[in-house]
């Protein structure tokens, strides 16, 4: 496969060639070697790793961070022997243990996630190659980005330069996902740790798939190219001119949405139709057009559709509510499905004429259609929206306050709604109060509600519980008006160079990435608050996906969102929105580039060494506060293999296991000092690889703790500790009980806390420890030159 991009010894002879400009006879051309370009970096040890290639590295990590199981389900029901009860010491009919079964389900989850991103990447790449040709150069940041595809270089050992070069990369991903999925077959793998190693592999593949998807769309569709100050886009329904025809796009694959923008541009009617989006398609469409608007994260689907504002709804793939057709019908908005993966039972109208489809929609003879041609989607959506808007008159399914009172009186207080609510919101109590004319309790639920609608399915009285909340909140959705920085894509190499100094001098305590879905325990506000707090503390804060939207949905005392308050650059106190789900690859990419930029470690096919570098030196932490999907699980797994810890919200325990370190086991925390070759106790840093926090407060303290690494300079460690101790004091109370584990020398003690900490160390039998040049890999011990 490597040779696909560097062929050797090409001989070409032509007997006769006639063309308009020349006639050739008997030409023979022989070329010693064709190389794609001048990449001199030698191939590393593990290009295109297969399932077991990086097993030793995985096992080294998993030895420190043993899976801590939280079985979400005690049974296995995947084969016909089952259901098998796996509680206690029981084994299933195939011999599987509870631990292995839990890890097996995690692997299944990670495979679904990796397959979803890779499938998305493949569909996107195929359509971009169809449109622009396979020779279109990859360009994700002009001269500011030298390493255009850090993950692909690292994993595959190739340097893609054109769209066509990305195809063998996806071939590899697809191959590996198939192999990985087959591992979950009955009787394929018995060790929980080997299942976990494969979870890591799936995560790594997922990151490759994401990188391919995003660099392809950045290069071909003219998205911002690593721009620190990419423009701000409107966020919230309050920014939409509801007098105009409105199109809603939902999902992750920007192609059909781009078709809509293209049609509007071609017709010169961009200002006449509003294009609005939910979820990652929304993020990506704002990278394509400055007129597009983001309504909100995935949890805004019901409330936005029911507002009646969208005249046409266009869905593509991933994280689209499967009942969208029903919701769309309630407000008489036609639905266009655009992905083979998500057809919703609709008739395939791809080959019908635009006129026919539009007529069907406008006459309301069909509720929806499947159209697998993005260009056609663009024309149908726009023309339908313009014709149907005057007829629909934005008729919504939301309810008035009077109706709310009347409906609330029907509630029997059976409490099934509350039991159905993932966040245990006190719905029945609030509805009871509303029946008595007091709406404040119901109103308060607006911010916390994740918009799943399970309460409505559970209601014995068939009350539209979700809509009751919206009504009590004065239709707040309609007035939400914020902004978000459009996804910038990669981090520039020069930005990484610039932060090297401040990191070693202790001016930047770490990098925190707020990523993932919107299944928050207490609404999106907490994400915005955490972003603001860490940016204020001069961490580098990255955002992506639904979290990027949530971060923008709150204002400070001066009325600014975090995107207005802080810069978009990768610097101390910057809030760096990389973009949609697939843009998460750039966060991992930045960590990888640090190794190549500062230490000049070769990336090419050199996964283990780079992961060891990132794990021991790069103080990055991911926070997926509302992680919901299988994709989120795969993204997290990709970070784990690189040694980057991930903190999730309380719902994250449903991923079935955590990866927790044991700070009390001193023997777990030795590293090799690459200078001396000796083994050195480096402290429990980072303490965990996967941790579910109960509350925002716990999460923030944990994030501050998890940015510590064995290589920290004393100034760097002092800054990290200052934040850890300060957050602990404010949010939990007192000096953290484990602070002595993180102080290696007196110079590590934060200046403003010297007295307290010194006293604490005295009480805890603290001893000075050397600062190693840390590695887990004995082969990286420095060989002394004579």
């Amino acid at each position: 496969m490597v040779n696909a991009l560097s062929r050797k010894g090409v001989n070409l002879s032509i007997k006769e060639l006639d063309s308009d400009i020349a006639r050739f006879r008997d030409i023979s051309i022989s070329i010693g070697a064709i190389r794609q370009d001048t990449w001199h970096e030698p191939m590393g040890p593990t290009p295109f790793p297969t399932l077991s290639t990086l097993r030793n590295w995985d096992h080294a990590l998993l030895k420190r961070y043993k899976p801590f199981y939280l079985p979400f389900c005690d049974l296995c029901c995947l084969c016909t022997y089952g259901k098998c009860d796996l509680t206690g010491q029981k084994r299933g009919a195939c011999g599987i243990t509870m631990a292995a079964q839990q890890s097996r389900i995690v692997l299944l989850t990670a495979c679904i996630g990796a397959a979803t991103h890779t499938g998305h990447a493949r569909e996107l790449l195929t359509s971009l190659i169809d449109r622009f040709g396979s020779d279109l150069p990859i360009n994700v940041g002009d001269v500011g980005v030298e390493v255009e595809a850090p993950i692909t270089r690292l994993v595959c050992g190739i340097r893609p330069q054109t769209l066509g070069d990305l195809e063998p990369v996806l071939d590899y991903c697809e191959n590996q996902i198939t192999q990985l999925l087959s591992v979950t077959h009955t009787g394929q793998e018995g060790s929980n740790i080997d299942f976990e190693s494969k979870v890591f592999h799936a995560g790594m593949i997922d990151h490759v798939g994401m990188e391919v998807a995003d660099i392809a769309q950045i290069s071909a569709l003219g998205f911002p190219k690593a721009e620190p100050e990419s423009p701000l886009a409107d966020l919230g329904l309050g920014t939409v001119d509801v007098k105009k025809p409105v199109i809603l796009v939902i999902g992750h694959n920007v192609t059909p949405s781009a078709g809509i923008i293209d049609y509007l541009r071609a017709e010169g009617i961009q200002s006449e139709v509003e294009v609005t989006g939910i979820c990652c398609t929304a993020l990506d469409i704002t990278r394509y057009s400055s007129r597009a608007k983001v309504i909100g994260p995935i949890s805004w689907q019901l409330r936005y559709i029911r507002s009646g504002v969208p005249d046409v709804i266009v869905i593509d793939e991933q994280c689209v509510r499967t009942d969208t057709l029903l919701e769309a019908a309630k407000v008489r908005s036609p639905l266009i499905a655009t992905s083979e993966k998500n057809c919703l039972g609709l008739p395939d109208r791809t080959d019908d004429t635009v006129d026919d489809i539009v007529r069907g929609f406008v006459e309301e003879s069909i509720p929806g259609a499947l159209i697998l041609d993005p260009e056609k989607v663009g024309e149908v959506a726009v023309r339908t929206a313009r014709l149907i808007a005057p007829k629909r008159k934005k008729q919504g399914a939301d309810i008035s306050k009077e109706e709310l009172g009347r409906l609330a009186k029907k509630c029997t207080q059976c409490m099934l709604c509350r039991r159905a609510c993932p966040n245990d919101l006190p719905l029945a109590q609030a509805i009871k109060a509303a029946a008595g004319g007091h709406l404040s309790l119901l109103d308060e639920l607006y911010d916390d509600c994740v918009g799943c609608g399970r309460c409505e399915s559970a209601c014995t009285q068939k009350l539209p519980v979700h809509s009751l909340i919206i009504a009590a909140a004065d239709q707040k959705t309609r007035t939400e008006s914020y902004c978000i920085r459009t996804g910038r894509g990669p981090i520039q190499d020069t930005e990484i160079r610039k932060v090297g100094g401040p990191i070693v001098l202790g001016e930047i305590p770490g990098i925190v990435a707020f990523v993932g879905c919107a299944n928050y325990p207490k609404g999106s506000r907490e994400v915005a608050e955490m972003c603001r707090e860490f940016a204020k503390r001069r961490y580098i804060v990255c955002t992506s996906g639904c979290s990027a939207m949530s971060a923008g949905m709150h204002r400070d005392e001066y009325g600014r969102t975090v995107y207005e308050q802080f810069s978009g650059a990768f610097e101390a106190g910057g809030i760096v929105n990389v973009g949609s789900c697939v843009s998460n690859a750039h966060i991992a990419g930045a960590a990888i580039k640090i190794a190549s930029i500062f230490a000049k470690r070769p990336l090419r096919g050199n996964y283990e060494e780079i992961a060891d570098y990132v794990y021991n030196r790069v103080g990055a932490v991911g926070v997926a506060w509302g992680a919901m999907s299988q994709k989120a699980a795969a993204i997290a797994a990709g970070f784990w293999r690189l040694g980057i810890p991930v903190v999730v919200g309380p719902h994250g325990t449903k991923y079935r296991r955590m990866l927790l370190g044991r700070s009390d086991k001193t023997e777990d925390w030795y590293v090799y000092d690459a200078r001396s070759g000796g083994k050195v106790y480096a402290g429990p840093v980072p303490e965990h690889l996967f941790f579910a926090a109960e509350t925002k407060e716990d999460a923030m303290v944990m994030v501050a703790k998890l940015t510590m690494r064995p290589n920290d300079t004393s100034k760097g460690r002092a800054n990290k500790l200052a934040n850890y101790i300060d957050l602990h004091k404010r949010l939990v109370g007192g000096i953290p009980p484990d602070v002595h584990l993180f102080v290696r020398s007196p110079a590590d003690i934060p200046l403003t806390m010297k007295d307290d900490v010194t006293l604490y160390l005295k009480d805890h039998d603290w001893k000075e420890q050397p600062i190693p040049d840390p590695t887990l890999l004995p082969r990286l011990i420095h060989k002394k030159r004579v």
Binding site: A22, R23, F24, R25, D26, I27, S28, I29, S30, I31, G32, A33, R35, D37, D135, L136, N139, D142, V143, G144, V145, E146, Q161, T162, L221, G222, F223, P224, K225, A258, R265, Q492, R497, G500, G501, I503, V504, K536, R538, Y558, A572, S596, I597, F598, A599, A674, R675, T713, K715, A722, N723, D726, A747, P750, L751, T752, M753, D755, K784, R785
Partner: protein, 467 residues
């Protein structure tokens, strides 16, 4: 530690801004013509340790929303405290002030600008004595070499006048000392191993005439840091024997490099990009890159967002420079080093510099010999190497003389491997037919580079960052 202080003290307050509407009082700042802060070294018996005095009205008696003059005088003494360290210690005033909740400190020296927030004032921060106590505590904790510290806040305009005059003189004499201090005047240099946490084989050698590559640490900073924590990551290097004054090679530096790089680096030339050049991690501010065709150097800083005259961008060349390796002709440097008389001294200094971005050339105008300045091409003058060469000839750049005396350099540029020799094949174009008979085209290696056309996509941000 700060129980007696009515507001919180901590790193978290460092980035805080106090807006005009939230401000109790402003001290110094653009509205006040005379303000300053200064650290002065005194004889041990001349000051009283821990003394904080306020000369003139204190914060509590200042009118809300108004601005006042302020002088902060920190007098220090100690056996190991030298006058050379005053500047380094003075910068701590800025850092420490900003740890105080609601107390915003900007700038330094005669330019200080401080705002106190209403919130912190209401919490009881109504006197300079608290500010003094915080500084005192932090100075003592961070800099144990200070045996005595005495702090005076002066708000009385008449009294401030005296301090202001003394401070200006001292800033000037300090600057003159820094500018005039030569590598040959000192016995010790400093090594900085901070970046080894990311680049394990790199160390910086910091001399009076060669700043750290990151631009953040001067010889004076190094002296202070090594004095305070001799076991720390910034340490003393005794120069020892000078092996080559021109190239800047010292036995002490070589020994230190060998030890700290685990034998990767055995010799270091401080003032040359060839042979044994000083290494870089990744955070250098600029690159001096050799252009063989012109036998001179191009200079490019990190912020330059275009390709340079050799067709490569900063990021591409930086890739060849980093990682603690000695790479001939690709040299990571700080801006401050470019202001040094020893800048690339062994290679000819500015007389060897042939290209730099216009903005950089302007920024360094005072440090480039006036005779060379106009002959250094910028991106506005030339885009390619051939254009550069004719520019240099036209402006009679000193390297042109070198070309004449060094014929080989000229030959090297002409000696290009032709991929396709067309000697036997008639070249015709424009409507004519080309007929090749029995032609054989042989190439050892063909490099295919994609033509960088703008992407055809409809997005609006295409190339937007190239300004």
């Amino acid at each position: 530690m700060f129980e007696q202080i009515p507001v919180d003290i901590g790193l978290v307050h460092e980035g805080e801004r106090v807006r005009k509407n939230d401000m109790q009082v402003e001290l110094g700042g653009p509205a006040e013509p005379e303000k300053c802060e200064i650290v002065l070294v005194r004889p041990v018996d001349a000051i009283t340790d821990g003394d904080i005095s306020i000369v003139g009205p204190d914060i509590g008696s200042m009118e809300e929303g108004k601005h006042y003059p302020l002088g902060i005088l920190v007098e220090i003494a100690g056996a190991k405290v030298e006058q050379d360290l005053e500047g380094v210690i003075e910068r701590r005033i800025h850092e420490y002030s900003n740890y105080i909740e609601g107390f915003m400190h900007l700038n330094q020296r005669y330019d200080i600008w401080i705002r106190l927030s209403k919130k912190s004032f209401k919490k009881g921060l109504n006197s300079f004595k608290y500010i003094g106590q915080v500084m005192l505590e932090l100075f003592r904790n961070e800099l144990p070499i200070l045996e005595k510290i005495q702090i005076t806040f002066i708000t009385d305009p008449e009294k401030l006048k005296l301090l202001y005059r003394e401070a200006l003189e001292r800033y000037e004499s300090r600057d003159a000392r820094a500018r005039g201090l030569l590598d040959r005047d000192v016995d010790v240099f400093y090594g900085c191993a901070l970046c080894q946490s990311f680049a394990p084989t790199h160390i910086c050698v910091i001399t009076p005439q060669r700043y750290a590559n990151c631009g953040a640490i001067s010889w004076f900073d190094g002296r202070a840091a090594a004095g305070i924590d001799p076991k720390g990551p910034i340490y003393e290097i005794v120069k020892d024997e000078c092996l080559d004054e021109e190239k800047g090679e010292y036995t002490g530096v070589n020994e230190s490099a060998k030890k700290r790089s685990m034998g990767e680096i055995n010799r270091v030339y401080l003032y040359s990009a060839f042979g044994y050049p000083h290494t870089s991690c990744g955070c250098f501010e600029g690159i001096a890159f050799y252009i063989p065709e012109a036998d001179g150097f191009g200079i490019v800083l990190r912020g330059f967002r275009d390709i340079t005259v050799n067709g490569l961008a900063f990021s591409t060349m930086a890739d060849s420079t980093a990682g603690g390796r000695q790479v001939d002709g690709f040299h990571g440097i700080s801006i401050e080093y470019m202001r040094s008389a020893r800048f690339l001294h062994a290679d000819g200094g500015y007389e060897r510099v042939v290209w730099m971005p216009a903005e950089t050339r302007e920024r360094l105008k005072d440090f480039i010999p006036p005779s060379v300045y106009p002959a250094i091409a910028t991106e506005k003058d030339v885009k390619t190497i051939p254009e550069l060469k004719s520019f240099l000839i036209n402006l009679n750049h000193p390297v042109v003389q070198k070309w004449k005396s060094d014929e080989t350099a000229a030959r090297a540029t002409a000696d290009r491997t032709a991929v396709l020799s067309a000697g036997d094949i008639p070249i015709t174009a424009g409507g004519y037919r080309i007929i090749l008979k029995n032609a054989k085209i042989t190439a050892e290696k063909v490099i295919i580079l994609p033509v960088r056309a703008p992407p055809p996509g409809g997005g609006e941000h295409r190339g937007a960052q190239k300004k």
